[in-house]
Amino acid sequence: MMDVKQLIKPNISSMKPSGIRRFFDLVHEMEGVISLGVGEPDFVTPWNVREAGIYSLEQGHTHYSSNAGFMELRHEIAKYQSRRFGTHYRPEDQVLVTVGGSEAIDLALRALVGPGDEVIIPEPSFVAYQGCTAFTGATARVIKLKEANEFKLTAGELLDATNERTKVLIMPFPNNPTGAIMTREELEPLVQILKERDIIVLSDEIYGELTYGTVHASIASFPEMYEKTVLINGFSKAFAMTGWRLGYACGHPDLIAAMTKIHQYAIMCSPTTAQYAAVEALKNGRTSIEKMVLEYDQRRRVLLTGLRRLGLECFEPKGAFYLFPNIKKTGLSSEEFCEQLLMQEKVLCVPGDAFGDCGEGFIRCCYASSMKEIKEALVRIERFMAGLAL
């Protein structure tokens, strides 16, 4: 018998499966669980957007698009990036439509790094950065972001992590799982360091629409950084289109061309029904986004105030839809806290260390759930905390 396991590449087989899986398996067997665990909007895709997708199917638009995506969509993306975030791209050769932001992250890393190269990954952050870096054989250099800095990246931290092998810096803001954002003023010192170096910034701005009280600042909008940044965005979070799987990358034409090469062999083109829907989202989606952001903002405050009242320390995150409270005072590890909370009170949160070792001592609470569920979750967490007899 052939031992297939033997044949798997070492850098894949040595990747440890996410610890969170075990949790999710537990949840499958439980009823009445309130999930603050899943990082996706609870809103359904706005009807005008769904309707545009349906209409494209009715019209029989069921074929491939060009590899980089429909030109009409790339035009809309360019216009949208320009009016919302002040980042200007030519639709012809600077925009690539991908299968979610995740594909764009993978493409960028595959196009840029390999063995011997280093990728700086500030953590806690989205798990795919580590995974995709590992696939390429490059080395991940982790920056442990600090709660004291509200999990923002500082110039000192960046300098310490940079060396002659550094090729890519990942900028995961607004951040999953902490909800941290970086303002223009906070980006400035980083730009001063980066502008002198041959480092590409992979700026994952998938939560760019979800900021509260401030407009997202893109590092690509700094003239010094424009050519050095590959900007990644998508429709999942802003337009509640997670299941459509549509994202995009914008950047230097040479980099976009390289990424398109990989994309054309691995994916061919992104799903076209989703592309038609995305055109509608960009053209007429503003009202829906504003409504959703208002609602998230209220939930954010309710959950934040609630958790603080229970005595959990939590900085006020201004982006995405996550809170990242500190649970160290309970004496439990992140995993113990989440597991006991799930088993005793049926509330699902995600242990902070799932997003990097420095997330230990924190849990991720996603507030993309209804206000009713958030309030019930708070009642249950209060009962759970009381049982801990602190």
């Binding site: 499958h28 999930s35 899943v38 609870d42 795919a128 209220q298």
Partner: protein, 160 residues
């Protein structure tokens, strides 16, 4: 739009404390704002959305278009006043349509009751030139609330 108004528009039962948390302002600010808004007539009242179908009570709503003769110096206001003062009239709007001038919502217990009201009280008004009554058969959505939609969460557990 003012965030307090936006919150109240969706749920007027929320307490001042809760509104303060949602809006991210102090509870005193909420109280002061609401007091001012009530006095200034910005907040004209508080209401509840009731799906009478589910309440198993007889209730019918009609939209009545009314063509009226405007009055010199008064425009439509005096006619409108004669109409909206009836208790049966729950809403009254001046429209920009060419076909009619006032749109009136009338609520009653039966079609007969509403029909009689229109015939006996509205149509005979001196300056009313004509009416058209449209009974509502089913309410799908009111004030942003969809009546018969069941909320279900089909999100699966995915790690990200």
């Amino acid at each position: 739009m003012n965030v307090v108004l936006d919150i109240l528009k969706k749920n007027s039962r929320l307490g001042d404390e809760e509104i303060a948390v949602r809006a991210g302002i102090e509870v005193e600010e909420v109280r002061a704002f609401i007091k001012e808004a009530e006095e200034a007539g910005i907040i004209a009242g508080y209401t509840t959305l009731i799906n009478w179908d589910n309440a198993q009570e007889d209730a019918i709503t009609a939209l009545i278009q009314i063509k009226v003769q405007p009055q010199r110096g008064e425009g439509f206001d005096s006619v409108a006043k004669r109409i909206y003062q009836f208790d049966q009239v729950s809403a009254c709007y001046l429209m920009s349509s060419g076909g009619f001038d006032l749109a009136v919502i009338v609520e009653g217990r039966s079609m007969k009751e509403v029909g009689s009201f229109v015939a006996e009280k509205l149509a005979i008004q001196e300056d009313v030139l004509g009416t058209a009554t449209h009974f509502m058969l089913k309410k799908y959505k009111e004030h942003g609330a969809i009546y018969e939609e069941k909320h279900f969460d089909d999100r699966e557990l995915i790690f990200l």
